[in-house]
């Protein structure tokens, strides 16, 4: 197959462009979007590429329509994505919950900018972490990934599609305005270098009759996509294994939501990914995610030069969250610092994980500039 961009070699591209190329290599053939800074370039790249790979790129009337369209596309059998930033992400919340409830594999990108409201459209922030995890109403479970470089943005986009397909779930990628517009060298692999996952389809009529059942015991039902004669009924109402609405029986709701939680949490070791830097003998731990991690790596080096045994834990997945891993970390370090570009969000997760075993301190910065390494160093050495 011919690709509209070079593969098997490196390129110097923006984070937004990397997301678009990764999506196409991951098999995405439906993109719906609405213009918004700083995610428009993802849409523009998709608009350029999609028709060339016989895919669809369509500009919807708003972000509500965009996420709706990709859910429809996913049920029609293709991998689908939309991308936005804060205001659009807020509009998507209801249908994000619909995707959770109907177990629809989709990828939603949020290139975070300063908020609330229109805020700082061109500046990076990390203010939507809690929204990505908890934004839609009701009890729900989904996956949230968070890259820190353009290369990682590329790789996590492919991973986002694979996780969405494997677990029949929406996956959110949280980037930011800095990653969106920054150009870095990225290796764009050949398609045969990439592992690409497609959802389980029903193996037989019996499985197709239970689009929300658990025939394989892994919590992930095969997906009887439309147009194959399965006559699948999909609803956002609480439904039984066959998809029929059953809204007044507590046990039906408990079973459904329980399985949606279990299918993610039961595989959390597979889903959660992180990296460490100088953490083995560390007495001071810095826990970060996303763009701030870049400053934190430098800060760890500077602290080590000053004789402070600092180390970094960089989270590539922020939901599900490994609270146990943080507790183990808290048991062997003196203090944990959490630098983040908001008024304190990851900090609360880390503090819950630390469970009082170590002091946790927030290094908050808002306004649209990434922490400098020195700002982190100064807070640590006092």
């Amino acid at each position: 197959m011919k690709y509209p961009f070079p593969v098997g070699k490196s390129d110097f591209i923006q984070g937004d462009e990397a997301i678009a190329r990764a999506a196409i290599l991951a098999g995405c053939r439906f993109y719906a979007g609405y213009p918004i800074t700083p995610a428009s370039e993802i849409f523009e790249a998709m608009a350029l590429y999609m028709p060339l790979v016989d895919g669809v790129s369509i500009q919807m009337e708003d972000e509500i329509g965009s996420i709706a369209a990709i859910i429809g596309a996913s049920w029609a059998g293709t991998k689908a994505m939309t991308a936005t930033s804060g205001p659009g992400f807020s509009l998507m919340q209801e249908n994000l919950g619909y995707a959770v409830m109907t177990e629809t594999p989709i990828v939603v990108v949020n290139m975070m900018r300063g908020g609330p409201s229109t805020g700082q459209p061109t500046f990076p922030a990390q203010g939507d972490m809690m929204q990505a995890i908890w934004g839609t109403h009701g009890d729900h479970m989904l996956i949230v990934l968070s890259p820190s470089t353009v290369q990682e943005t590329f790789e996590l986009t492919i991973r986002a599609f694979n996780l969405a397909e494997k677990y029949r779930t929406p996956v959110v990628i949280l980037g930011d305005a800095e990653l969106a517009h920054m150009r870095e060298r990225v290796y764009i692999p050949n398609p045969d270098e990439i592992e690409v996952v497609y959802r389980k389809l029903p193996a037989n009529e019996e499985e197709a009759k239970l689009p929300f059942g658990d025939p394989h015991g892994d919590g992930v039902p095969p997906m009887p996509i439309f147009g194959k004669g399965y006559r699948t009924y999909v609803t956002g109402l609480t439904h039984d294994e066959s998809g029929h609405p059953r809204t007044v029986e507590p046990e039906v709701h408990q079973k459904l939501i329980g399985r949606i939680f279990r299918k993610i949490l039961g595989h959390k070791d597979e889903i959660i990914s992180y990296e460490t830097f100088e953490l083995d003998d560390a007495e001071i731990a810095i826990v970060t995610t996303g763009i701030v991690s870049r400053s934190a790596i430098r800060a760890v080096k500077m602290l080590r030069e000053r004789g402070v045994k600092a180390g970094l834990l960089k989270l590539n997945t922020i939901w599900p969250f490994d609270f146990g891993m943080i507790e183990e970390l808290a048991e062997r370090v003196r203090k944990i610092y959490v630098p983040e570009m908001n008024m304190g969000q990851l900090y609360h997760l880390v503090r819950e994980g630390a469970n009082g075993k170590a002091e946790v301190e927030l290094i908050s910065k808002i306004g649209g500039e990434v922490h400098t390494p020195m700002e982190i160093v100064k807070r640590v050495v006092g």
Binding site: M60, E61, G65, G77, A80, F226, G227, R231
Partner: protein, 282 residues
Amino acid sequence: MMYLKSAYEIRDKYLRKDMLPTIFCPGCGIGSVLQFTLRAIDDLGLSQDEIVWVSGIGCSSRVPGFVNFDGLHTTHGRALAFATGIKLTNPDLRIIAFMGDGDSAAIGGNHLIHAIRRNLDVTVILINNFTYGMTGGQVAPTALKGLRGTTAPYGQFENPFDIAQLAVSAGANYVARWTVYNYIQGINSIKKALQKEGFSLVEFLSPCPVSFGRRNRMKTAPELIRWYQKITVPLAKAKKMKPEELEGKIVIGEFVDRDRPGLVKEYREYIKRAKKMMGWEQ
């Protein structure tokens, strides 16, 4: 044309028996319009496996759950946006969007306008009962001035939307409006709509005695139907009437029947253009 198959035959062929009875109240018109739609499908000999039913939220939006087809019961007002994704991904599928007036014209108004503007290949069957039946009788944006609902207990003070006219203006290929008692015209219109490329919409004035009628001194379906007879004017007659004579009336009939290219065809052309412009194809 008469439609003489027994209703039981239609029911047994097309409904999910394990989902019956329906949620509809006595006197509700949704079942009638569903029957019209199924008779149209049956008469055209369309396969159950090539049609996807899409809906939003409301009484009429529960219909996809009762029919034995692929179905997507989505969020309030958004059915046509979901349909856009389904249709463009698999153009072989025929899409029926079963919608209510509040669902399509209030919360989903923007999706409706833009789906029509794009000429999305979809057939909308629209139940207009002037009310939000499921939530208990609040006024809908179609409610004529003076009609009562729980959120306008002293009578609607806003102007109503004319959904059929809106659809014509936005560029639909086929638009008709009937009441549930115009059943032959209704079925014929649905048949035409289902065969159309692009956007088609058939609106039905449909009785809701429980949530709407009872608050407007029309407690039963027959009373509502007699009221429809009073307020509706056939298109041919309406054309000869003055605007002031049409005040408070609802025109019924076939408003437009044209053949502009649908979204699927336009997008296929767009793909060809893209490949040509990039030098990928001659």
